[in-house]
């Protein structure tokens, strides 16, 4: 950790001796247009993937709750994307996203009279396409957390609500969702960090392209550190990322705590 901080103030040259550059690395990070764009993309991805995964995960959890063997098999199948190696996921989605009319997803779009879309190959659609993969992969994980939380909901509350004449929608709103509050806190905290550190899917799917439209902080730090060998600037970037992670985590935790107090 200390070394990372030290590096962020130096031009790093392991065999020649580091050169002190003061706060120049930080200056480059916070003023560099590429960094600012990357921060923007990271935030968009963070919000989109988190929101998408949580909503889809909740819907899946509500649909697949129960103890029947059939549901267990379906849940296992739905969970597969989460446990599949990202390299495999990326390669599969690259094939699905083939940007010609005979690509798998484009064929589906064609049946609906839309497309063909360029997906990963157009600056307009690349970020959304990556986000969709993230949601697809993250939702089943969120679903499992929700399922665990749903199992802990007191059944008598449902019965009481039903006895009071509440329909399905009102039961979900007044009984299920409040009971899931702890799960939401966990998921938002995890998702905030996960999203800030998003790297593998971008690296494998687009490497930040086309035209930098999917560049996120981690891919930029990787490029600077290991492709351009600007380890000092990369270290400064990671310190900024660390600060953002801590800030975001605290923000989520604080808002969670405040929510709890309000609930009390």
């Amino acid at each position: 950790m200390w070394r990372a901080i030290e590096m962020s103030f130096h031009e790093v040259r392991p065999y020649l001796g580091d050169r002190w550059v003061g706060t120049a690395n930080y200056g480059q990070v916070v003023t560099d247009e590429a960094f600012l764009e990357a921060i923007g993309h990271t935030l968009v991805l963070a919000v989109g993937q988190t929101g998408g995964s949580v909503v889809l995960g909740l819907v899946l959890a509500l649909l697949l709750e129960g103890t029947a063997r059939r549901l267990w098999i379906v849940r296992t199948a739905v969970f597969l994307p989460t446990v599949t190696a990202m390299a495999v996921v990326a390669e599969v989605w690259r094939i699905l996203y083939h940007p010609a009319a005979d690509g798998a997803v484009n064929t589906l779009l064609g049946w609906l009279g839309a497309g063909p879309s360029q997906f990963l190959n157009s600056p307009d659609s690349a970020l959304w396409s990556v986000m969709a993969v993230g949601v697809w992969r993250g939702a089943p994980y969120d679903m499992m957390i929700f399922l665990a939380a749903l199992a802990g909901v007191d059944r008598t509350l449902y019965e009481a609500a039903a006895a009071d004449g509440a329909g399905v929608r009102r039961r979900v709103w007044h009984v299920t969702l409040p009971a899931l509050r702890p799960a939401f806190v966990i998921l938002f905290t995890l998702a905030a960090i996960r999203s800030l550190r998003v790297f593998t899917e971008i690296f494998l799917l687009t490497n930040g392209g086309p035209n930098g439209s999917t560049e996120v902080l981690m891919t930029l730090i990787y490029k600077l550190g290991l492709e351009r060998n600007e380890l000092g600037v990369a270290a400064a970037g990671s310190m900024v990322l660390l600060a953002a992670s801590v800030a975001l985590t605290l923000a989520v935790r604080l808002s969670g705590a405040r929510g709890k107090e309000v609930a009390r």
Binding site: A4, Y15, H98, A126, P182, I193
Partner: protein, 453 residues
């Protein structure tokens, strides 16, 4: 991704720990402190040599390198161990550097020279101290010369690029081999629209292009076209280098590239995010019919596609009437901090000798690690019967051209790749403006490297 947390209460410390770990990981990559960069001049002449080669583990090329090491050990008694690494070779090297545990030698791309020198990972090699160095093709030494005029490696293998063209498609459509860029583009368009595979579907394309920014592939591909169009990266020399990437000829070359993507639509879809590992299969599986690539792919394509299905043609001359094709290759780099500096040199000398070069060519097999020999006394035709190698040999000798000599080429290549990638990904872009912006970033980088005003 952080997926270890199961309770809200524990999330914050774990999250913090995960974030710290990420930063620490980067810290580890960059090493634990400064060093004086000494080369351990005394050394132990019998200390075993560790050699890293940028080859896929388990490949025939790794086997050739192991055979070379065994032959060296037999001849000198010095033990030599070869490790093949392919993916993220440079990353692993950075990690080894950070741990102050570099291999004794690496055999890696010539384009890595500047980066290795800048970081002090390699030691200087006096041209005169290399026994047999005078037997090398003079231009091959250029690949080991850094911006300070000194040499930091010994050339080992040279290569250049040529067009791999689907011969069966071309003949089916009744088109002659292209003699200039217009004919080449016409061929690419015919491959895109003329259903050359005869399956009744519009599922074939002209050019296969690895257009991602990763490792600067897009620029790597473009450079031959830039030079052949009469464009340059820089004008001037040494400390007075100036960006020339926004010259009219360079803009014309960029526009030509963009037209292939946007006007003719003759490039295989997905090119702007494809790297070579994704591009090769597009040629092999009949998606695209024209691929500018290196001789190392012949063995692979012969196996996957069939030797009779494609031909190897030199890149036709550009609008300026000349052809200049990127020359690359591999150097043997003598790494800093070795316990056996004399052994390092001996190994490099062994590799450029007649025995090393001939064995490295590995006949017509897929195990070749010497693409084109750098030793002028070694005749390519004496080792290889396959006439296609002669095409590469001729291109290398007549129009081969190495990347510009600057302190560090990687930032330029990366910036150029990103600019070009952006240009072809956005069909509304203006090549003149894109290259103008690129020239400005070149000027900034030149200044940073102390090479421009």
């Amino acid at each position: 991704m952080n997926r270890t947390d199961r309770t809200g209460r524990r999330a914050a410390p774990t999250v913090l720990a995960a974030s710290l770990a990420a930063v620490l990981a980067l810290g580890t990559l960059a090493g634990c402190g400064a060093d004086d960069g000494s080369d351990n001049a005394g050394g132990d002449d019998k200390a075993p040599l560790e050699i890293w080669v940028r080859k896929p583990p388990g490949s025939p090329t790794e086997k050739t390198h192991q055979d070379l090491a065994a032959a060296f050990t037999k001849a000198t008694g010095v033990e030599a161990k070869v490790t093949a690494l392919f993916d993220d070779f440079e990353t692993k090297l950075q990690q080894a550097a950070a741990q102050k545990d570099l291999p004794d030698l690496i055999v890696n791309d010539t384009a890595q020279l500047g980066t290795l020198v800048k970081q002090g990972l390699v030691r200087e090699v006096g041209q005169s101290e290399v026994a047999g160095g005078d037997q090398l093709i003079p231009s091959s030494w250029e690949a080991a010369r850094a911006a300070d005029g000194k040499y930091y490696g010994v050339p080992f293998s040279a290569q250049t690029f040529a067009l791999f063209v689907r011969k069966d498609w071309r003949e089916k459509l009744g088109i002659a081999p292209p003699a200039d860029w217009d004919q080449l583009d016409a061929l690419a368009t015919a491959f895109t629209t003329g259903d050359p595979d005869g399956n009744g579907k519009a599922d074939t394309y002209g050019y296969v292009i690895p257009g991602t920014t990763k490792r600067g592939y897009m620029d790597w591909y473009f450079s031959s076209f830039l030079w052949s169009a009469g464009g340059e990266y820089f004008s001037g020399e040494g400390k007075s280098l100036k960006p020339a990437i926004d010259s009219p000829a360079a803009i014309a070359a960029a526009r030509h590239l963009k037209d292939q993507f946007c006007a003719d639509k003759s490039v295989v879809p997905g090119a702007v995010t494809a790297e070579t590992t994704q591009a090769h299969p597009l040629f092999e599986t009949g998606k695209g019919g024209i691929y500018l690539t290196g001789p190392y792919n012949m063995a692979r394509f012969d196996k996957a596609l069939g030797k009779d299905k494609y031909e190897v043609l030199p890149l036709p001359p550009g609008p300026g009437g000349k052809s200049a094709v990127l020359a690359e290759g591999e150097n043997t780099y003598l790494m800093a901090g070795s316990k056996n500096p004399k052994g390092q040199l001996k190994y490099a000398e062994f590799l450029i000798g007649t025995e090393g070069q001939s064995a490295g060519m590995a006949g017509d097999t897929a195990g070749n690690v010497v693409r084109l020999p750098v030793n002028k006394s070694v005749k390519l035709s004496a080792v290889r019967q396959d006439a296609r190698w002669q095409v590469f040999d001729e291109v290398y000798r007549e129009s081969g051209r190495y990347s510009p000599v600057v302190k560090e080429w990687t930032p330029f290549r990366q910036a150029s790749a990103e600019a070009l990638n952006g240009m072809v990904a956005d069909c509304g872009s203006d090549p003149g403006a894109v290259l103008g912006k690129l020239a400005a970033s070149f000027a900034e980088e030149l200044k940073k490297q102390g090479a421009g005003s």
